[in-house]
């Protein structure tokens, strides 16, 4: 993996700080908003950013990201506009950025071409939820050739042995899905059982940093769930906040952006 993500995560770990990853859907609400939104979450203190490449059939997503993906596609988001957004962001920030999305748009774009472009635009890695390790050979070689890390996911029902394999394959961090569910799921008081799974994952996964995601809505959720991990990822809650803020078009744009900066900042407090 390019040193940007690893060195960021290493340096946070040295200082005993938890990393915060923030997910945004590229092109939501419209492609022209993405640059400003990336800046806002960067300013709000995201230690790394996941930029979602919207897909028409996002299987692992709950309603907020289903909605943001459909809205982004309707407003003209394409792989090209997403890569342009990465490129723009990289002109002014060194915050690590991973592209997250489904395999089909990448296949259609062309795997080699996609990896070359993503890398040239300044992306650091890829998270592809419908590309489990046994199918990853499709993408692995080109990703590595272009210095893109591949982040794999584990879930509460992943066996110990498989967690070890995933730890070997993953670059930068392993993404721990908090619950067996979709993005944006309610944690519904399952924090204790999630924590014992994360504690187990922490013991098994030794090569990589651990990030927990799915269902984290507040700084309280974040601090509770990152006891055993190196950090946390927030997606749906940020999308819902953007949806709420951008529905109020009477509020001037800079104020909406500032409100998003504050929201992101608030997730990290504690």
């Amino acid at each position: 993996m390019k040193s940007r993500l690893s060195s960021k995560l290493n340096s946070l770990k040295k200082r005993d700080k938890k990393a915060m990853g923030i997910f945004l859907t590229s092109g939501f609400p419209t492609p022209s908003d993405t640059n400003q939104l990336l800046k806002a979450v960067d300013q709000g203190g995201a230690d790394f950013i996941e930029l979602g490449m919207p897909h028409s059939d996002p299987l692992a997503e709950g309603l907020p990201i289903q909605y943001s993906s459909a809205t982004a596609l309707r407003s003209g988001t394409t792989m090209k506009t997403t890569l342009e957004a990465v490129n723009n962001f990289r002109q002014t920030s060194d915050t690590p950025l991973l592209l997250m999305g489904y395999i089909n748009p990448i296949l259609k774009f062309g795997i080699a071409k996609f990896c070359e472009h993503a890398s040239a635009c300044g992306a650091d890695g890829l998270i592809i939820p419908d590309l489990p390790p046994q199918e990853a050979s499709l993408l692995q070689e080109e990703a590595h050739k272009n210095g893109l890390g591949l982040v794999f996911l584990v879930a509460p029902n992943t066996s110990t042995e498989r967690m070890k394999q995933i730890d070997q394959l993953s670059d930068g961090f392993v993404y721990c899905i908090s619950i067996t569910g979709l993005t944006g799921s309610e944690l519904r008081g399952q924090q204790n059982s999630i924590n014992s799974y994360l504690e187990h994952a922490r013991q098994v996964i030794t090569h990589n940093h651990l990030m927990v995601g799915f269902g984290i809505q507040s700084s309280a959720d974040a601090s509770q769930l990152s006891k055993h991990t190196d950090g946390f990822i927030v997606g749906s809650a940020v999308i819902k906040e953007i949806e709420r803020l951008w529905a109020s078009q009477e509020i001037p744009l800079p104020d909406r952006q500032e409100a998003l900066v504050e929201f992101v900042r608030s997730l990290k407090q504690s």
């Binding site: 059939d57 792989m79 259609k108 489990p132 199918e135 584990v154 879930a155």
Partner: protein, 400 residues
């Protein structure tokens, strides 16, 4: 060399595989193990065969279509009467197999997707038979096209959940069913209705549907001088009735096979002819041909028949196309409606709109094969469920 796809990774050539979220991987592994174990277990097989016999009414007839053959002027056409299966289509062969696996795995909750409602009805039927909770995902658009089947499912005790996102058809109902499974992997069994989805589904569904072709093989010997048919014809949406008919004959190289897709309004308009016009991609967990735009977003399919209205196709069909083992052709909405009328009038059999695509193709097929060819068409479902749609097109289906 005999045909041996899929390999142990669930690949039919480059197609198939399991492109799913990590949460489903342990479930798919457990399913594969349960399926392989069960299929090798004599008591499971007895139970499965017994249900097919006493509950579904198998073997279904192989009917010589004398007047249809005469009308088309060439070939001896036989109909494999899956329309006579309990619940009205071949779908129940598969749902019985899968629910037995679900019980073997200790699952308590059944979910399924449905397009035309036939798979939903077949799932609700068998869930009622075994007293299991059953939730059916169905596109809101399909629910209005197939109101009768919605009522049937509810009568059978299933909860029918409308899918209002996307195209509100089979594709989106499948997305919702997968999302449900991702959210409830421990107690839930997902009964997929076609030879689509991640490994091991395409292989498992093929296995359960192969009873169609196996019966044809033994029945034909009694009805004709030929040991194997010359030609097989079946409609292809996801492709389960076609695979069920084709697979037992796949190593008989002299058997010519035709898969008939839905050309909708015509291949230059809206259609669902995935193999005829699509390109390679990943949808619902498998690599296969699919209908997509230049940015890799899945296109909306169209067919008058809700069961064929799907922008993907089973990965095995993609492979059979590439290796040239099956010829894939397509028929329009209009031709299918005319074929409903043709089969009703000549044989006294009202076919489902899906099946009607296979009937419609016969006109072309008989002209491509020898005059005395034995042609077996999979009469995959009955048309009662489609009467509303058929009535809306009276000008095509009424000849008097």
């Amino acid at each position: 060399m005999s045909y041996d796809a899929p390999n142990q990774n669930g690949r039919f050539g480059p197609y198939g595989g399991a492109f799913v979220p990590e949460i489903l991987i342990p479930e798919l592994n457990a399913l594969e193990e349960a399926f392989e174990q069960s299929w090798a277990d004599e008591s499971f097989l007895n139970q499965y065969r017994c249900l097919l016999h006493s509950y579904v009414g198998r073997p279904t007839s192989l009917t010589y279509a004398e007047r249809l053959s005469h009308e088309l002027g060439r070939g001896q056409i036989f109909l494999k009467r899956e329309d006579l299966c309990h619940s009205g289509a071949h779908k129940i062969n598969n749902t019985i197999g899968q629910i037995l696996i679900a019980r073997h795995m200790g699952k308590t909750r059944i979910i399924a997707e449905t397009g035309a409602g036939q798979h939903g009805v077949a799932t609700a039927t068998i869930a009622a038979r075994f007293g299991m909770t059953c939730i059916i995902y169905m596109g809101a658009e399909d629910m209005s096209r197939q109101a009768l089947n919605v009522k049937r499912m509810r009568l059978l005790g299933a909860e029918v959940r409308p899918t209002t996102c996307g195209s509100q058809t089979l594709k989106d109902a499948t997305n919702e069913a997968i999302r449900d499974w991702v959210s409830n992997p421990r107690d839930t069994f997902y009964i997929i209705g076609s030879v689509v989805g991640p490994h091991p589904y395409p292989k498992m569904v093929r296995t359960f549907q192969s009873v169609i072709g196996e019966e044809v093989h033994s029945q034909l010997r009694q009805l004709s001088s030929k040991a194997v048919p010359d030609v097989l014809v079946a409609c292809v949406g996801g492709g389960s009735n076609a695979i069920g008919l084709f697979y037992p004959f796949i190593d008989y190289q002299d058997v010519t096979m035709y898969g008939v897709e839905a050309a909708g309004e015509g291949l230059h308009g809206r259609h669902a002819a995935t193999l005829s016009t699509g390109d390679i991609g990943v949808l619902h967990g498998a690599m296969s041909y699919l209908l997509q735009d230049e940015d890799g977003q899945i296109s909306l399919a169209h067919s008058i028949s809700a069961g064929l209205d799907y922008p993907g196709v089973g990965p095995e069909h993609s492979w059979l196309k590439d290796i040239g083992r099956v010829k894939y052709i397509s028929e329009t909405d209009h031709a299918a409606l005319r074929a409903v009328s043709l089969l009703s009038r000549t044989e006294g059999i009202i076919p489902a709109l899906e099946t009607a695509h296979a009937i419609a193709a016969l006109e072309k097929v008989v002209n491509e094969v020898d005059t005395d060819s034995v042609i077996v068409v999979n009469c995959s479902g009955r048309g009662d469920k489609d009467m509303q749609t058929i009535m809306e097109h009276d000008e095509i289906t009424t000849i008097f």
